[in-house]
Symmetry: C2
Subunit: 353 residues, 2 copies
């Protein structure tokens, strides 16, 4: 008996923006950030089991659209993500994203999800994971330079994972800082609006930069940065976009996700191709040292890597089980006889008459 | 006033499998195939305006998952597609796909669509476009070797675009041939079940091969192929998967979509890297000759290229206008203030209380 209805495998669970927000609130934002940090770390621990490739970027005058695939041999994942700094002026997000997981064995998708919110969460979780290994012990104060869409997620992840209790905020636009302070009110974090980047980093053990201009910028110059800090540089994430003066890089021990991608997109695009870096996964496994010295400057030159999105999508998939925070999409044509795609099409005609 | 509802830009039109089938029947299968052929040809005519890159493949023991991006500078598109020959044994499709269009200027998606059915249609349309330029004049008979999911689409496209009235069918599995004959009954095509590939190509001016094994096969050997035919080789579409004996290639003038991809994935992976080929878009624009001689053997070594999917998605987007053959997905997080992603998340919590 040939059924006109799609099979279970033809239906793909889809997490909309609305459902992602419901899921996050159901679990609690800080819980999600802490659990995601562990999920990302678990995948960094098995880094070598991933099929890794630099993302596939399509650049235009206004921005970039990227596809970020990876696989652990059992599950395949990819993210679609754009980066359009000028979108803000038009009232649009600079970064929007969605992602997919599929079974390697069959190629059938098993999850489609919004990833604008999820990328914000996983970026903060990855920063927190790096800081857990690299930040000076006992740090309670972070500086957050660039108070855009990522700022609150960064602050809450550093609170949940690293014990940060104070956030010193700076943005070229004071409205952005006010927005961040308003959103963090009631979070348990003490927040301070600072008059400059220099002011913001005063006393901070973790300095996070996350600005959005697509250009070579110097948010931090060498004379600003004292010893014994961990810098988390997020905003420099594509060719031609950096945030730190190269002299800061020279004084720091630099940690990266995936060197072939970071050398093109990260802060170290300013440096020679053999500029020494440590792969973060090696710190996680213990194969390479993290922080060796309280006076050392550690720098996580973060550009975002496909494995982190994979971790985030798998985490969402696990957490969805038993909830109703998803719809199912009739996305895969799956006729009863796989060779009879045309017959399925014909029967659909009969069914709609 | 901050709205808890997603903006219009946050909602992405989605064409499910069910709606794709409704759209196709609303327009008529042959009309879609003919119009798609013109749409693909129009984009081949402006081939040089596309950002082209070989697809990004993730290979496993059982198959391949690929991402196929392209852009014309205004619209960006990509397709997710798998190829898992052994899926048939499990009752699954060997090829499933979905695709997306986005605005280059903002990176915001504007269409998400199933592409399993659409890929079948665009593959047939691309074959018909090639045959329109390359097949011997007055051909009324085609041979269809491999009677799987693609067979009926190929036959109907060749009917609609090239005036084929007779299809000679062969498959190693007679059930597949019976399925194809059953589906083509009432189409106006005369169909014949043939006992062998040799038998099927008897008198045919267009010979289409579309078999699914992931291995080096020789569906056509040199002594089988007479002069004055056009061969449309579809099944050889990834490394290690070919259908024709190399001697057939040597006697043919070979036309391809995008040489960097075809030399790795197509029939010509069997030949030297400098084996002469003609790019099909040059035939379409008149920059290179198509068929020059009635006795010539022309061969379209088709592997499927991102531009064809782009054409197909754009065609669907145009044809959707004014219909209700789509849903909208809340896929893009789009807060009123683009920097206030976290605030949107917070307000959603309040809204669901």
């Amino acid at each position: 008996m040939l059924s006109p209805l799609p099979s279970a495998r033809a239906m793909v669970p889809f997490v909309s923006v609305g459902n992602m927000m419901r899921l996050v609130h159901h679990l609690g934002v800080e819980t999600v950030l802490a659990e995601l940090t562990d999920a990302v770390e678990a995948d960094f621990r098995r880094w070598e089991s991933f099929d890794k490739t630099p993302r596939v970027a399509s650049h235009s005058r206004t921005g970039v659209i990227e596809l970020m695939p990876t696989s652990d041999g059992t599950i395949y994942g990819f993210k679609y993500v754009n980066g359009h700094p000028r979108n803000i002026a038009a009232g649009l997000q600079t970064v929007t994203a969605f992602g997919l997981l599929a079974e390697v064995a069959t190629g059938y998708p098993v999850l489609l999800s919004e990833m604008t919110i999820l990328t914000a969460l996983r970026t903060a979780a990855t920063s927190a994971m790096a800081a857990r290994h690299l930040a000076p012990r006992g740090t309670r104060i972070m500086a957050m330079i660039g108070n855009g869409a990522q700022a609150e997620f960064q602050a809450l992840a550093m609170k949940a994972v690293c014990g940060i209790d104070t956030v010193r905020l700076y943005d070229v636009d004071p409205d952005a800082t006010r927005k961040t302070m308003r959103n963090l009110a009631g979070s348990g974090l003490r927040t301070f609006a600072c008059a400059s980047a220099q002011d913001a980093i005063e006393g901070a053990g973790i300095i996070t930069t996350c600005t959005a201009d697509k250009q070579f910028a110097t948010i931090l110059t060498d004379n600003m940065v004292g010893p014994g800090v961990h810098i988390n540089a997020i905003g420099g994430d594509c060719p031609g976009k950096t945030e730190l003066h190269r002299d800061v890089l020279r004084r720091s021990d630099v940690f990266v996700e995936y060197p072939p991608q970071t050398r093109i997109e990260g802060e170290i695009q300013q440096m020679a191709p053999d500029f020494p870096v440590t792969e973060l996964w090696q710190v996680v496994t213990g194969a390479a040292p993290g922080r060796r010295d309280p006076r050392q400057i550690t720098l996580f030159d973060s550009v975002g890597f496909a494995v982190e999105d994979f971790s985030a999508l798998r985490y969402v998939r696990e957490r969805l089980a038993g909830t109703d925070f998803y719809e199912t999409l009739d996305m895969i044509a799956d006729p009863d006889d796989p060779r009879d795609l045309f017959g399925m099409l014909q029967r659909a005609k009969a069914a709609t008459r």
